[in-house]
Symmetry: C3
Subunit: 185 residues, 3 copies
């Protein structure tokens, strides 16, 4: 697999900021840039990000996710915001709608990691799943919480993308050793 890297298509990652206020321009999105910064630090290959800014509407979020997977062929799509229990928080619902497989271990792990910082971590409904050959992950809205969550799950992301799509991700070994089991069966 490592030999194939030169011939791989350039990696494209979708970042969807879900926020009524940010999408109306009343608020400067901090989540999207925080995710991009994090990825630039942990990935050791060039990649392109496609950023979308949508209101807290389940159909609009779902459309953005579908477009980024089906048209833009992103191998990874992350959302920020809309994961709480309030009536307008529907990002996980949109994610479940568009995924063929859910990966409950991501939400469990991210809540558990966040619980080390705030007891309200249990209120997060964040999830993750697979659509076609893409991995979709819900992250919180706050930059600090985004880093905490990604620190908790990133080591599994390169191998997940490899299992889903065959795409090998080159990671910054100083920052994160991407774990890959020696044998998958």
């Amino acid at each position: 697999m490592s030999a194939a890297i030169d011939f791989q298509a350039k990696l494209t990652i979708g970042i969807v900021t879900v926020s009524d206020r940010a999408s109306r321009g009343e608020y400067v999105d901090a989540g999207g840039p925080a995710i991009e910064d994090y990825l630039r630090e942990v990935l050791d290959e060039p990649f392109e990000t496609l950023c979308r800014m949508v209101p807290d509407e389940v159909e609009v979020i779902a459309s953005a996710l579908i477009e980024l997977v089906d048209q833009a062929d992103c191998r990874l799509v992350v959302t920020t915001g809309g994961t709480g229990p309030a009536v307008r928080d529907v990002t996980p619902d949109a994610t479940e709608m568009v995924c063929e497989k859910l990966l409950p271990g991501f939400g469990e792990r991210m809540r558990q990691v966040s619980l080390q910082y705030v007891p309200t971590a249990i209120l997060s409904r964040q999830t993750a799943g697979v659509r076609s050959r893409s991995l979709l992950i819900n992250l919180p809205g706050q930059p600090k919480a985004i880093s905490q969550c990604l620190d908790g799950v990133f080591a599994a992301i390169p191998y997940a993308i490899e299992l889903i799509s065959g795409r090998f991700l080159q990671t910054n070994q100083k920052r994160f050793v991407a774990f890959r089991p020696k044998s998958t069966k």
Copy 2:
């Protein structure tokens, strides 16, 4: 939000005891009173409880939950009993039926806390969710297990109710510091 508290309607909390035997009068319910005692200890404002006693029937449990949320306008509804794997244990199913949003972090956290006491904690199917402006939480049947579970999640409950309904809960700071993030977005 804190300024509004004097003008808030009196807090009403629903407690649903789910037990075939207790609902036939063959058994004195210990779970309901244990929940009420716990809440009197951790909440620092007057509140009314509406108690219901129902058999382990999914439709009957669901009706009780709906009545307490839709008619009685309870901000919090807790159940006790019926969360195990046996054929008559259907409280989580009734809860899922009536909730618009599920909050998987509650069940995860309560199982994890209970696991410190008994390895059979993993058999509990307890969940939590949101219906309209109410928070619904499944608790076990045994008073000791009820306390353990509430100790594990209570710090997040006041903020959850605030996010769902705008209702600020006054808590007993000596017993529990209700966590509220400084900024929600």
Copy 3:
């Protein structure tokens, strides 16, 4: 319940190996034998195992599970393999299809235990549930991971089977103390 053991029907346990390669004979199944060895070590009564080998096809897996529960009357059915995020990994989906009740605590606990060994544990979608009077549990494919997962949940299995079916399991007390609460209500 303990008095009834002499009159109980012999315990039958189903083991379903889910693997395209193993079912085509291209690969010698290691998961099924590892599960059988484990059970022989922890159970202290004679039991029969019924082993099935199926490809990663959701309908074929579901049929095997149904047959082992409905026809063969297995009190416990465990699967090995097919729990990951890849497109052919559908064992949890088949399990959810045939179960009347899901027991999310098993998956949570098994992922948590596995996470002590590999960060990619969060990619497992393994679950457990109840169909009729049987307990169904998904295990990973690798023998080492099977042992780790069973070590994490076995203490709760005898009591689960007792609650579901009334069948008391005799366990090897030197290896595992099967936990049974003193009072169930």
